[in-house]
Subunit: 187 residues, 2 copies
DNA sequence: TTGACAATATAGACCGATCTATCTAAAAAC
DNA sequence: GTTTTTAGATAGATCGGTCTATATTGTCAA
């Protein structure tokens, strides 16, 4: 139970932060939703920011694991998998409660680049970009960094348009935009 | 003075919201920074949300006017101007205090698509996208909507990477990524 | 130019609600 | 029997918003 309460708090907080934002979600709300005593939270996390960081760390691995798993399920070759990234995004955007990227939102609420929360967001974005770069390398692109970065920009742009502009078609738009780039790279 | 106080409040709030975020900026901070009485604010705006909306409206026109002006100054033909959009972004990203896009940040803090603040963000994103679509049409692209949307995704993606991932080179990456798309469209 | 009236701005008290965080003492779990 | 969890009181700060009574404006007529 020692760590089950901790995980329960992370899961609960993650869901609230995702659906309502960070400042908008109070500690009271988290403990009420988790059905846990206030001191249990402060026993596991020394502050709200620490809880946010723990939630983001959990989301980072969870999101990327899910992305990789889904992409590998959708396609077999690296070239196809680069395209499948957008199919995975499409599923995400059109899921029941899509509320944008938690890390973009975190960076939006915590502007200071030195803030640990902002740093967590930056690291997540770098890891996702690296994953796409890796796929581009595996696919044998002549300049995998450049191709990966380009495809990553389309992916990030589609997240923004899906959330801020409420364009649930953004992933399909991105996939179409990616095609000439992949072709130009011989893929 | 009637409207000068109002404009002073909008300018002050805009700057604070931009630098620190919406929830993180209290009314007290706005009136202190503006050097204005509390009731002066509530005389001009019936709530904080109304002030946010007024600030976003002002920023929407200001940002887009600045973008158009800068793009037109940097390039003469529509094809060149599509490329110049990324040069304008590059200047923005590397300016003294870049804190990301106020509208992406607004959507991040106000998730509900029905929320007027979120709607203001959506409308801004649509207007910027339409501007790029228009440039693509003026440039004689075979499918100006598709090209415009693709180039817009690269632009939005670069804003995210510049802010969340602290990649000040994102606009140059986006410009390089745009080139094959423009070429494929005969531009 | 002056006087008068209406609109606006002022400082600051005040409200209830909420915020993060701490503390304690009893209960439960391992 | 030691660690963890519990409920709830409590702290001090801050939140958005209202109210009042005074002072400062801007406008227009005499």
């Amino acid at each position: 139970m020692a760590s089950s309460k901790r995980q329960l708090l992370i899961d609960t907080a993650l869901d609230l932060f995702r659906r309502e934002g960070y400042h908008a979600t109070g500690i009271d709300r988290v403990i009420a939703e988790a059905g846990v005593a206030r001191m249990t939270l402060y026993n596991h996390f020394k502050s709200k920011d620490e809880l946010i960081l723990a939630a983001l760390r959990h989301r980072d691995s969870g999101f990327r694991d899910g992305l990789v798993r889904r992409v590998e399920h959708l396609a077999d070759t690296p070239g196809e998998r680069l395209r499948a990234v957008y199919d995975a995004l499409d599923i995400w955007f059109n899921s029941d409660d899509f509320h944008g990227c938690m890390f973009i939102n975190a960076a939006a609420e915590y502007h200071d680049p030195e803030n640990p929360i902002h740093i967590a967001a930056r690291e997540h974005k770098e890891r996702v970009r690296n994953y796409i770069r890796d796929l581009a390398a595996q696919a044998g692109a002549p300049d995998p960094e450049a191709l990966g970065d380009s495809l990553n920009l389309l992916a990030e742009g589609s997240i923004v348009m899906a959330h801020a502009a409420n364009d649930k078609n953004a992933a399909k738009t991105a996939k179409a935009a990616a095609e000439p780039l992949l072709r130009a790279a011989g893929l």
